[in-house]
């Protein structure tokens, strides 16, 4: 539940709030999978540095915490066991240049951050591509 991600001090005075939030009922599984961030970015760009934190702050909004994507009128593709990740240059390019409606979220990240999140994607969610991409690989693809 939401309590665990907030510094306790701020919530000492907010007992009532917590009860109300619980009743506003987000799906239980969703909450369990959603790994909240300790702190948020302070400007236009992402301040998270690790691949795991960047995934949790940028990618999972659409591709979901389990990386499986989602479908409504359109679809966010699954990144799980994703053959498209085999060549590291592909996710680098999608992240820094965007693709169709996907915004170029790499514009809000450094080369190191893009490399970190790509390397995280390519070694998690059932993907096992161990040839890491580097910041230089990212730099070359920047628009």
């Amino acid at each position: 539940m939401p309590l665990r991600l907030i510094e306790p001090a701020r919530w000492m005075t907010a007992g009532l709030m917590v009860m109300s939030l619980a009743s506003s009922a987000a799906h239980a599984d969703e909450e369990a999978r959603s790994r909240p961030l300790a702190s948020l970015s302070t400007g236009f760009r992402f301040t998270e540095q690790t691949g795991e934190d960047l995934f949790a702050s940028a990618c999972q909004g659409c591709h979901m915490p389990d990386g499986h994507g989602a479908t409504g009128a359109g679809t966010y593709p699954s990144l799980s066991k994703d053959g498209n990740l085999e060549a590291g240059g592909y996710p680098v390019s999608v992240i820094v240049r965007g693709q169709k409606a996907m915004p170029p979220v790499g514009a809000m990240m450094s080369d190191d951050q893009v490399a970190a999140v790509v390397n995280y994607l390519r070694t998690h969610f059932g993907n096992q591509y161990n040839d890491a991409v580097t910041a230089d690989d990212v730099k070359r693809v920047r628009p």
Partner: protein, 531 residues
């Protein structure tokens, strides 16, 4: 949904252009980025001429699609509409008590707002110069009321300035203007503007600065009843004994500059946010519902389009039931007006030429999050005399907007507790579970209004990248993509024409959707009549 994001944004770029290159350059830059464009509405559309019994299939029952349906039927076309949702309106949408909303990923929120209170997750204000939208509101009987964009008594907040204490907009505005006027007056008096200002104009300029900047007779800006007439008083004038007003001490220029609070003042100066702004009485979806009353009989709801084909004889659209995923069904017509957001259309197989297809694939969709919070009482009015308007902050919630209706009533109120648009925070909030978004909005908002802790009851959080019917807030054009793709997106391709806010120079505004639809059906009709 266009928004005054306070990060490194296009608007920061515009401020820079404005300050360095002057207003003409700024206007030019704004026009090319699609912000400053005036509406080109010329009154109700007239589609004269023989429609020859032609039929039109409209895809999407948002404002663009329903405008097209309404006008095409009136012109004599046989019209049918396919819509993904179970309601008309699309992004024109309001959430009220009892409504439930399931976002992508499966999280369901049930709205706990009291009767009469609502959140507009999408569009929420209408500029006075959005003449097409205003005209449809008039024609369809949608009652409007003022939307308060500027409230001098609302707050500006920088987490690292003034010890984190929010400042009144009237103080920052008056003091900033006063200090700048004083500086300019000094410079003028020292003769340092003599090359730029004639002797005659110099005297007038000094008078103007004194008036505009609330300067005293020595052209100084300081604590006195002149400046207090603008910024308000340390002790307000009253009646009877001891009633004399006391002027407050202006905030120093350096403090204002360093706080960066001046940057929020543009949110009240920009053409798109100037008074008078409006909102429909009772919620923005009153517009979608009014359109729905007109054209609802033409709409097939719960229809998810899966394929769009055309040949010399007509258009064939395949769709399934968006809830039951039924066996595919077919709709046919002579022509098609497609208002499906590009975020979705780019994923649907469609028979159009390579240039239109490239345009459909060229537009990223913006990230935006809105959070409505219900409180036990309208403490912003009762405790702080803030009646409507918007407080701005550099915290991730970006702004708090107070309701522009129900003023001065006892009891509960719902305010907009966060409106994030682009930047890392919008993605971070989208990535959270809804209850976590609400918890964060309450946590951050309580730094501006400590009453949050005792008064908060419940909330609704809508992250537009998780909205099943749009997969994003709105089309996000750049100067480069507009130059390369915009005309190709808007051209009629065979029997198909696109419409929607994405096919306009007023992106993310309802006016853009309507003007785009009117332009599209005008050109389509010309083609039908000519053939």
């Amino acid at each position: 949904m266009a928004n005054e994001s306070e990060t490194v944004s296009r608007r920061d770029l515009l401020s820079l252009v404005g300050s360095v290159a002057g207003s003409a350059a700024m206007y030019q830059a704004m026009t090319s980025l699609g912000f400053a464009s005036e509406t080109n509405y010329k009154g109700p559309i007239k589609l004269a001429g023989d429609t020859k019994g032609a039929s039109v299939l409209v895809l999407g029952a948002g404002l663009a699609g329903m405008t097209a349906a309404l006008e095409l039927r009136a012109a004599g076309y046989k019209v049918q509409v396919l819509e993904f949702n179970t309601r008309p309106g699309g992004r024109n949408w309001s959430l009220r008590g009892g409504d439930s909303f399931t976002e992508l990923g499966g999280a369901t929120q049930t709205c706990g707002f009291e009767d009469g209170l609502y959140l507009n997750p999408g569009p929420w204000r209408i500029p006075y110069h959005h003449r097409a939208l205003l005209d449809y509101c008039k024609r369809l009987g949608v009652a409007l009321e003022p939307f308060i964009q500027l409230n001098h008594n609302a707050l500006l907040h920088a987490s690292t300035a003034f010890g984190g204490r929010p400042q009144r907009i009237r103080d920052i505005k008056t003091d900033f203007q006063g200090h700048v006027s004083e500086l300019l007056a000094k410079t003028t008096q020292q003769g340092r503007l003599d090359e730029a200002v004639s002797t005659e104009d110099k005297e007038i300029l000094l008078q103007a600065l004194r008036s505009w900047g609330a300067l005293d007779k020595n052209y100084a800006y300081q604590a006195n009843l002149i400046s207090a007439d603008y910024r308000g008083y340390a002790k307000d004038p009253g009646g009877g004994l001891g009633a004399a007003p006391v002027a407050g001490e202006p905030i120093g220029l350096s403090d204002i500059l360093k706080s960066r609070l001046w940057r929020y003042l543009q949110n009240f100066a920009l053409h798109q946010f100037q008074t008078t702004m409006f909102q429909p009485v009772g919620g923005m979806d009153m517009i979608g519902k009014a359109f729905g009353r007109e054209v609802g009989d033409l709409i097939r709801y719960d229809a998810k389009v899966t394929r769009i084909q055309q040949n010399d004889d007509g258009v064939t659209v395949t769709y399934v039931n968006s809830k039951t995923r039924s066996a595919p069904q077919i709709a046919k017509a002579d022509w098609c007006v497609c208002t499906i957001p590009l975020s979705i259309l780019s994923q649907i197989p469609i028979d159009v030429g390579p240039r239109m297809k490239a345009a459909i694939d060229a537009v990223p969709y913006a990230s935006a999050v809105k959070i409505g919070l219900q409180f036990k009482r309208r403490f912003w009015e009762e405790d702080e005399a803030i009646y409507g308007g918007i407080s701005y902050t550099d915290l991730p919630i970006r702004q708090i907007s107070y309701p522009s209706s129900g003023f001065n009533r006892s009891g509960r109120g719902v305010l907009l507790g966060a409106y994030l648009y682009e930047g890392a925070n919008a993605y971070e909030f989208t990535s959270m579970a809804p209850a976590d978004r609400i918890a964060r909005a309450v946590e951050f908002g309580s730094r501006i209004h400590p009453q949050y802790g005792a008064e908060f009851e419940n909330g609704m959080a809508v992250a537009w990248h998780r909205v099943p019917f749009t997969l994003g807030c709105a089309g996000s054009w750049s100067e480069k993509t507009r130059a390369e793709h915009y005309d190709n997106l808007c051209q009629i391709d065979g029997r198909i024409v696109l419409a929607g806010e994405h096919a306009s120079y007023i992106p993310a505004w309802q006016e853009g959707a309507i003007l785009s639809a009117l332009d599209a059906i005008t050109r389509l009709h010309e083609r039908v009549v000519r053939n």
